[in-house]
Amino acid sequence: MKKLLAIGIFALISVYGFSQTQKPDSLKDVIEKHEGKLNALDERVLVNEADLSKLNKIKVSGYIQSQWESYGADLEKSNGYNNTFYIRRARIKFTYEALDGVKFVLQPDFSTGNLSLKDAYAVVNIPKLKNWTLWTGQMNRPDYEVEYSSSQREVLERSRVIKTIYPGEREVGVKLEYAGTKIPLKFQLMAMNGNFTGAQAKDFDSQKDIMARLVYSVKLPGAGVGIDFGPNVYYGGNLSKNNKYFKNSDGTLDSLKSVWKYLNKNWVGGEIQIFADVLGGMAIKGEYITGINSSPSSVAATSTMAQMLASPSLYNNFSGYYIYFVKNIGPKNQFVAKYDYYDPNTKLSGDAAGNNIYYKTWTLAWQYYLNDFIRISLNYEMPKNEINASNPTDKKDNTLGVRIQAKF
């Protein structure tokens, strides 16, 4: 035991003596040592900051629309059910702002059974042309109701005319856009394939469709009123590959010079949105569109003359419009009444119209904004169809919908 104690004391003295032989660091050494550490940390922070700034350029947003719908008896017959829960949309939008004036957008939709690419485009500010941007890729067609996001729209669905002439809302092409800062003017010009339905990757034909939209804004700040208005135009065509015969809107049969010629697809429109601060916000928004739409015959190239005459391509003079009345009630509630009209063939009415009948649709809706992220919508859509021999009664096709939207 004494031996062990002696060894311990010796060891302690040795360690103490050794430590005494080391010179203590001078203050300068200590500062230099810490300065080095701080510089190293500083470099690491700068590297991290550079990495973080890259991440800051990526913005992720999105929304989920979960809803329940109840249908009228005629819709029940065609659907097989009179009510359902479903996911209307489930979208995530990725926006990467690579540089000042260079932006990439990618937006898939993950709703059940509908995994699809909604947006995939790049936006570039045109050098030396302030306020001009060039868009390329798959994007919304330039139209008010099309561009108005479904996450903001006050009723659950777009108008019948818009859904018919701009199916799926998107197109593939290039768009030139001017958004004035000094002049309150917006101009959009888009060249596109013209037949996009969301399924095919490339065009059906060689002709590119053109769409243009002009919107001028007037502000009357004293009255709390703002008015946006302007015209829009669509100029395009559908290739009739196998059948030169077509039926005019009035039902008369006509013919192109030969097959592989284009059927016209042209229309013009006008839009107006009036915003007024009357005991809270209020808006009246509308658009009218009229023109000719065409649908190419689907007969095979090997068809007989009789088959071609029996299934000609179709021309339809159409018109349609919609009008919204929206009233905000306090910061959380909103009342909406909407009326929309669509006649797919204005040249024919009554029994002669067959199934090309007009629809007049009233929609009443109520929005409740629970917080920044959640919106609850109650929506009642009441379509009224034209009555003729083919459609002898007003269809029981009213739809009641309740939607909960979570947005981030």
Partner: protein, 276 residues
Amino acid sequence: MKNFKILPIMLVLAVMASLTAFSQAKITVKGSDTMVILAQKWAELYMKTNPSASIQVTGGGSGIGITALINGTTDICNASRPMKQTEIEKLKARYNTLGVEIPCAKDGVTIFLNETNKVSELTLIQLSGIYAGKIRNWKEVGGNDAEIRLYGRENSSGTYTYFHDEVVKADYAANTQSLPGTAAVVNAVKKDVNGIGYGGAAYAVGVKNAKVKKDANSTAYLPTKESIGKGAYPITRFLYMYLRNRPTGETKKYIDWILSAEGQLVVTEVGYFPVK
């Protein structure tokens, strides 16, 4: 279209909601850090003379304030830059109004230099070059042979956006250190002999303000009451309050007081410049 029964239900709901929608207990103010000291002073003085009023002021940056206005989490948004068209579109979509813009003070965006810096004036092109990272050494603008160290604001700041849009007109240099608030920018420049910063005039304490001129042939100005009043200082801007709707009740009373001679005196006391 067989059923219109839902219409009266909705109308009843609308009337009930209207009756409860406009009651307001307190005023919340959120936004610009540049304006936060001014807004706090206004609120403090107003509440002294109007004890029933309750005004809560927070900063965060103009971008944060505008987002809060759009999301409905603030009554008044303070912003040191005008609202962008995209932000107005969001207000339109959510509230069906264009918003109400109230210029409530003027500011000269001040260029802060360390007190030992030899440089005393800069042109707008030089400032753009410095913050875009094209001019990297003080000797290129008449100073010492030393690397320029850039201090700026975070991208939620209205001053960041205003300075970017009106002066830099390009991407900020990657080595610009983003700081939370003009006070932090001033503090950084105070300690860094080669530092440069920008921000609201009210914060310029313990640093040297650079004179600014439009181009090499123009007269250089400091941000003073006279130069800003005449519009001679090249980086003069308005400071704004934004609301979703035209103000009513206590909010209107408060804004009217801010724009009165008494409220505008506070602007001068804090270090900014009155609108009238």
